[in-house]
Amino acid sequence: MGKLIFNYENCTGCRACELACSFYKEGVFAPSKSRIKIVRIDEEGLDIPIGCEHCDNAPCITSCPTRALSRNSETNAIILNPDFCIGCKQCMVICPFGAIHYNENRKIFYKCDLCDGSPECVKWCVTGGIKYHEEIEEFARNKSADRIQQFLLNLPKSTRTITTGGGKKE
């Protein structure tokens, strides 16, 4: 049971994931053909990764009139079958995350399938903005442990050191 975890706090907006996704899936570099999208909000200095959350109770599956969307039992991914898709855009309208994106120029939906369990976008994310968890139960525990570790490591300012090219400097 895998899941992509998006963390906007760690995302720097480099959009490598978009390019990796489109290259791996379509063989070209084109953010418009990527399953994942980084929304760069420049005025706030925020970069928000948006992709499919592969919801348990997925509204897109429920709303699809032709059953083009279904779940892969192995990877837990919701998969789009383009042969069944009629382009009604119901899934796009109902998705609370805006993860399913449609562009006039494309005439086709691109839907994340978790790359059969080893997502390409995660391999290219060097900051940890996107992570892949195979065991989702562990995720919550790790997150809590991380928070405590951060708290303990939060040393007062006076003790911080930084190595510079000119040597150690307090």
Binding site: E9, N10, T12, G13, C14, R15, A16, L19, A20, S22, F23, E26, G27, V28, F29, A30, P31, S32, K33, V39, R40, I41, D42, E43, E44, G45, L46, D47, N103, N105, R106, W124, V126, T127, G128, Q150, K157, R160, I162, T163, T164, G165, G166, G167, K169
Partner: protein, 659 residues
């Protein structure tokens, strides 16, 4: 796209603003074979199409905005966009380079570059949305700041998916050092490119693209790019986490420790208040996000994230926010003797919103401070302009942007032209080379940087080479191997520095032309052959490095090896030189300002200078390698023939500008 080479979008957009005409033409194959793209191709376009002795603010001046073959192709640091024109600040070749993801978006829209000429009868902006390209009315935006302009244009078009390059109100008023600002925070800052854009009544360029880019050998390309990313991620400089954690503001404390942080308009080279304007201070007080990269934001496909985003929550300057970077901190901070980071941050974002180059703006203010201190001019506007007065500094930013008062009007000319107008010996207090002021590194301490300032094609500038090699702890063996002297890694030594500058200059020309960033071959020495040499030295088995030649070959399908690559670099340096000789640049202009011939008066680097004699000696060596005439600085015929630049030679010969 049916263009012969992959990687490129394949089309050039020509915009004639006078006639409101837009032409989409196929990219010139012969030009990109010789000059690749970006900075190199732009210089060639200017050489071919620009009338040399034109007033830079005249209708017929040309503004080139362009990307390179690897822009937007997942390679590390490939978000750069290049701008070139004849500069109103220096009256010679003007060129600047910006980050963000604007450039890649332009390629996804299907264009490699834009060539703009003429002047629109009324304010307009250029809207590019894939094949739909149109000039639209911008009278409602005229006079608005960068922030307002960018946000309203995003609102009018595709929201965050629309990337905006805009100019600010200072450019409209004719301040000579204005920038074109991409996506709010990334500036093609130097040499007054924004002023040229404003003189054409062009307020902004919006881009959104949904196209695709192909590479020639996908599998090979992916391997090379992966190696490149790993090369940066495993670079000793990157691994030390200093740059990672703080971005370029790390240089405040770093420069101060090494004694090259310009202070009080280059009177000193260490600043007692460096700690309070440092990157650490910024991270702790203003960063909007905490872990693991405090406020770090990246350009397109860049692991480096050199800028830091922050916000002031309370106090006098509450609400100030933006991406901050070292040059700006030094310009408004140490150069003006100001240790109040809030005021510096505020001045930085102000000049950004007005659309001014923060380096030139800060330098101009610092020069005025010194001139008043020396009693050469008087503080006629009664702003109490003196070193360390933060309020006066912020006030001056407003005044220069509005050309208000005597100093404000003077300041709008930039430090060099202003001091010429003041007369007396005022010009001796500027730090200008070829009419543009010096960035934040004291050349009396960092000799490689100093020599670069003298020879840079756009005037005083470190980015033409970025010889950080002398600043970071590089093993002397590499200096010996690459540049013929172990002392090349020594900051204050002159040994091996000319060779070092030459290698860096050729590679920097390539970096700018392919659409990549300076950090690739300098700062992080991830570029071939340095990682290989380091690996050999430390007996490492696995080495990751960036090989531009392989990279370009795999992306475009051209056949380029390392030797040919350096050759193209030389060609680009020479086309820029050819352009500059037409504008009147000779050997006498390749010099440093008087200020740097005199020794530093106090601090740990007391007594250090860059003697004129030494500079001339280095210039001789440099000219000999470059194949330029020792006496005049003109390019030699043989060199142009060697570099296969026959067309350039023919043209220069007609004007007797070749030896």
């Amino acid at each position: 796209m049916t263009f012969d080479y992959c990687g490129y979008a394949g089309r050039t957009l020509r915009v004639d603003l006078s006639r409101g005409k837009i032409i989409k033409e196929t990219q010139s194959k012969s030009r990109i074979e010789k000059y690749i793209g970006g900075r190199g191709a732009d210089a060639k376009i200017l050489f071919d199409e620009l009338i040399p002795n034109i007033n830079p603010l005249h209708n017929d001046n040309i503004l080139c905005i362009s990307t390179g073959p690897i822009t937007g192709l997942l390679g590390p640091t490939t978000g750069r966009v290049n701008v070139a024109t004849k500069s109103p600040l220096t009256n010679i070749y003007g060129n600047s380079n910006a980050g963000s993801d604007w450039g890649s978006e332009l390629k996804y829209a299907g264009y490699d570059n834009i060539i703009i000429r003429g002047k629109s009868p009324k304010p307009v902006y250029l809207c590019i949305d894939d094949d739909y390209v149109e000039l639209k009315d911008a009278s409602h935006l005229w006079g608005q700041g960068i922030f307002e302009t960018t946000l309203s244009l995003q609102e009018e078009h595709r929201g965050y998916d629309t990337k905006v390059a805009a100019i600010g109100p200072a450019a409209e008023k004719g301040v000579l050092f204005c920038s074109i600002i991409f996506n709010l925070w990334d500036a093609a800052g130097r040499t007054g490119t924004g002023t040229v854009m404003a003189s054409k009544n062009l307020k902004a360029i919006t881009v959104s693209g949904s196209g695709e880019l192909k590479v020639a050998y996908p599998e090979r390309y992916l391997e090379i790019v992966q190696d490149g990313w790993l090369g940066i991620l495993n670079d000793p400089g990157f691994l030390s986490e200093e740059h990672q954690a703080l971005g370029t503001p790390i240089c405040v404390n770093w420069g101060n420790a090494q004694g090259w942080l310009p202070t009080r308009n280059f009177r000193e080279s260490t600043f007692e208040g460096a700690d309070s304007i440092s990157g650490e201070e910024f991270r702790d007080k203003y960063s909007t996000r905490s872990s693991p990269i405090p406020g770090g934001r990246a350009c397109m496909s860049c692991p480096n994230r050199c800028k830091r985003f922050g916000r002031i929550e309370s106090g006098k300057y509450a609400g100030t926010r933006g991406s901050i970077e070292f040059e700006g901190i030094a310009a408004f901070g140490s150069k003006c003797g100001i240790s109040d980071l809030e005021a510096v941050f505020h001045a930085y974002t102000l000049s950004n919103d007005y659309g001014m180059d923060c380096v030139s703006c800060g330098n101009t203010i610092a020069t005025f401070m010194e001139l008043i201190d020396e009693g050469i001019i008087e503080d006629e506007d009664k702003v109490d302009l003196r070193f360390g007065n933060a309020d006066a500094m912020v006030e001056m930013v407003h005044r220069i942007a509005h050309k208000q008062g005597k100093l404000g009007t003077l300041g709008a000319l930039g430090a060099y032209k202003a001091t010429l107008k003041i007369g007396k010996n005022a010009v001796d207090y500027t730090t200008s080379v070829k009419g543009i002021d010096t960035i934040a590194c004291d050349p009396r301490v960092a000799k490689g940087f100093g020599f670069t300032y003298a020879i840079s094609s756009r005037g005083s500038d470190h980015l033409r080479t970025h010889v950080v090699f002398e600043m970071i702890k590089m093993p002397p063996e590499i200096g010996k191997e690459m540049f013929g002297s172990e002392k090349a890694c020594d900051l204050t030594s002159y040994n091996g520095k000319v060779k070092m500058v030459l290698w860096h200059e050729n590679l920097a020309a390539i970096t700018d032309s392919i659409g990549s960033c300076r950090f690739m071959h300098a700062s992080y020495y991830a570029q071939y052959p340095i990682p290989e040499l380091l690996g050999k030295l430390h007996k490492k088995k696995k080495i990751n490095s960036i090989k531009y030649h392989d990279w370009i070959s795999a992306a475009t399908g051209m056949k380029i090896d390392y030797k040919k690559l350096l050759n193209i670099g030389q060609r680009i340096v020479n086309i820029e030189r050819a352009l500059n000789t037409r504008f009147g640049i000779r050997r006498k202009d390749d010099t440093l300002p008087k200020k740097f011939f005199k020794p530093i008066s106090k601090g740990p680097r007391k007594g250090q200078s860059f003697p004129k004699k030494q500079l001339e000696k280095m210039l001789d060596e440099y000219y000999n390698v470059r194949g330029w005439d020792l006496k005049t600085g003109l390019i030699k015929k043989s060199e142009l023939i060697k570099l296969d630049m026959k067309d350039v030679l023919d043209d220069l010969e007609k004007k007797k500008l070749v030896k």
